[in-house]
């Protein structure tokens, strides 16, 4: 199993195929092994040591970051969760270069989605995930300059990719970077014979956390201590909704023919009015602010009533004109 760390404790983790080379058991690690720590870079395993931390004896895997020699200590039982993986093989690297040189479809334009996905790719996507971040942000930079945060993310991703390629191919980092940019920005007249690129990294879907309905209804306006009587307006709106619902239920009970009849006879005299006029314009406005979910229903109801009221106004206007003319 792989994937980014949980965002919420109750979030269900999706089962995805593990990235190639991920270390699922700390027992696999041997001193001298070269591994990639997500977001940190290539590290060399020094060994396993035991330390007393807060009264607990912990078994820690000691690693040394190759770039600057920084020490990295990871609890042995956390190794499967952090996404530690082996340095990409030559075959994987070939796939990465073919991916980098391939034409790219439109980059993600929603910055929130893009930033979150890129962060997930850097942690859990393996070397191809890092290449995807570089390529995606590079394509975006051709459309517009990257914002500062993404510029930093692009530089970090590039740094990780270049160093992993350098270690994997056994070349100096600047040469690895030249290879990357030769694929990303080929000189004029150069065309590559590309193999189909590897499948893109699968990211776990993020279900949207929806608030319960009761939470949506209660806006906590009572806590504000406002001396406004909205109860009438709210009751009216609620009554209107109830009325509409009962009417719909009645129509459904009478059958489709009956529904057609009511539609035809909308202008008839026998039909009772659907709702009473709200007490005042101000109260209506406040009610709309207080209950935004109800507003569309109101508008729809108002539209239904509009044809009935419009002729009366039209009829009133000519009368006023006539009166004016008489004067």
């Amino acid at each position: 199993m792989r994937g980014p760390p949980h965002r919420h404790p109750d979030e269900q983790r999706e089962e995805l195929p593990a990235v190639e080379g991920v270390i699922l058991d700390a027992a696999e690690l041997r001193a001298g092994d070269r591994v990639v720590y997500p977001n940190q870079g290539v590290c060399a395993v020094v060994g396993v040591e035991e330390k007393d931390i807060a009264g607990q004896k912990l078994q820690l895997v000691r690693m040394q970051r190759e770039e600057d020699g920084a020490a990295v200590l990871v609890p042995k039982n956390k190794v499967p969760a952090i996404g530690l993986r082996r340095v990409a093989t030559g075959e994987q690297m070939e796939g990465v270069f073919h991916y980098l040189a391939a034409s790219f479809d439109d980059p993600e334009l929603d910055w929130k989605v893009r930033h979150r996905d890129n962060a997930d790719r850097l942690v859990a996507g393996g070397v191809l995930g890092v290449a995807e971040v570089v390529k995606g942000l590079h394509s975006l930079s051709r459309i517009r300059p990257l914002p500062t945060k993404e510029r930093e993310q692009y530089d970090n991703a590039r740094h990780l990719l270049v160093h992993e390629i350098a270690v994997s191919l056994g070349v100096p980092p600047v040469l690895a970077e030249d290879y990357v940019d030769y694929a990303l920005m080929p000189p004029a007249g150069v065309k590559f014979e590309l193999k189909p690129p590897p499948k893109p990294v699968l990211l776990p879907s993020r279900p949207k956390r929806r608030r319960p309905a009761a939470e949506e209804e209660d806006l906590g306006l009572s806590d504000l201590g406002l001396d406004v009587d909205l109860s009438g307006a709210l009751e009216g709106a609620a009554g209107e909704r109830e009325g509409a619902e009962t009417e719909e239920a009645e129509e459904a009970a009478e059958g489709p023919g009956a529904a057609r009849e009511t539609a035809k006879g909308e202008g008839g005299e026998k039909r009772p009015p659907r709702r009473a006029r709200p007490p005042a314009a101000k109260a209506r406005k406040r009610a709309r602010i207080a209950a935004p979910a109800k507003a569309p229903r109101k508008r729809a109801a108002a539209k239904k009533h509009a044809p009935r009221k419009a002729p009366a106004r039209k009829a009133a206007k000519p009368a006023a004109k006539r009166r004016g003319k008489r004067k």
Partner: protein, 181 residues
């Protein structure tokens, strides 16, 4: 301190322009440290110089901590083949290291007119800034107006900028501030 070492002769006025540009770009002292012969180990049968071998085998220059050495040659440079072929080589550097080399062979001819000489100097200064930038941990930049943009890119204008973009400048300044000396 940036020490420039020439493997072939360079006009003193061009050198003066280059020294001034590097000083402005990185804010560290720059000087011409003399000439050195081309190492034999770097020579290849196709009359090009192996850039990686050249940096490894070039005669040492007396340096102190955080000094950078820039070699300049007029011979074309070659890089080892990559997964998609050999990238064009304008220069090469030790990433975060001490040495860098640039070649004037790919720069458009110096000519004799004032404009062509000026263009040649500017391009030489750009490549030098690019190579020294790598020794200060700078990666390639996507901005074609930045000196760290790849030299072979199709997006690069005919007379490219010799300065770093704000992001690369800040990053290099940060690295230089954190340097031992």
């Amino acid at each position: 301190m940036i020490r420039i070492v020439t493997l072939d002769r360079i006009d003193p006025t061009d050198m003066a322009f280059l020294i001034g540009t590097l000083y402005r770009a990185f804010g560290v002292g720059t000087e011409h440290a003399g000439d050195r012969p081309v190492p034999r180990e770097a020579e290849r049968p196709d009359a090009r110089l192996d850039a990686v071998a050249l940096l490894r085998e070039a005669d040492p220059v007396r340096t102190f901590a955080d000094d950078k050495v820039l070699y300049i040659t007029s011979a074309p440079l070659a890089l080892p083949q990559g997964p998609l072929g050999e990238p064009p080589c304008w220069g090469f550097a030790d990433f975060g290291g001490e040495r860098a080399v640039i070649s004037t062979s790919k720069i458009p001819a110096r000519g004799v007119s004032e404009a062509s000489i000026e263009a040649w100097r500017r391009r030489l200064a750009r490549e030098a800034t690019h190579a020294i930038g790598h020794t200060w941990d700078l990666h390639h930049c996507y901005d074609p107006r930045c000196a760290m943009h790849p030299s072979w890119s199709q997006g690069l204008p005919a007379d490219p900028e010799i300065d770093l973009c704000s992001f690369c400048r800040e990053k290099s300044e940060h690295k230089i501030r954190l340097a031992k000396t």
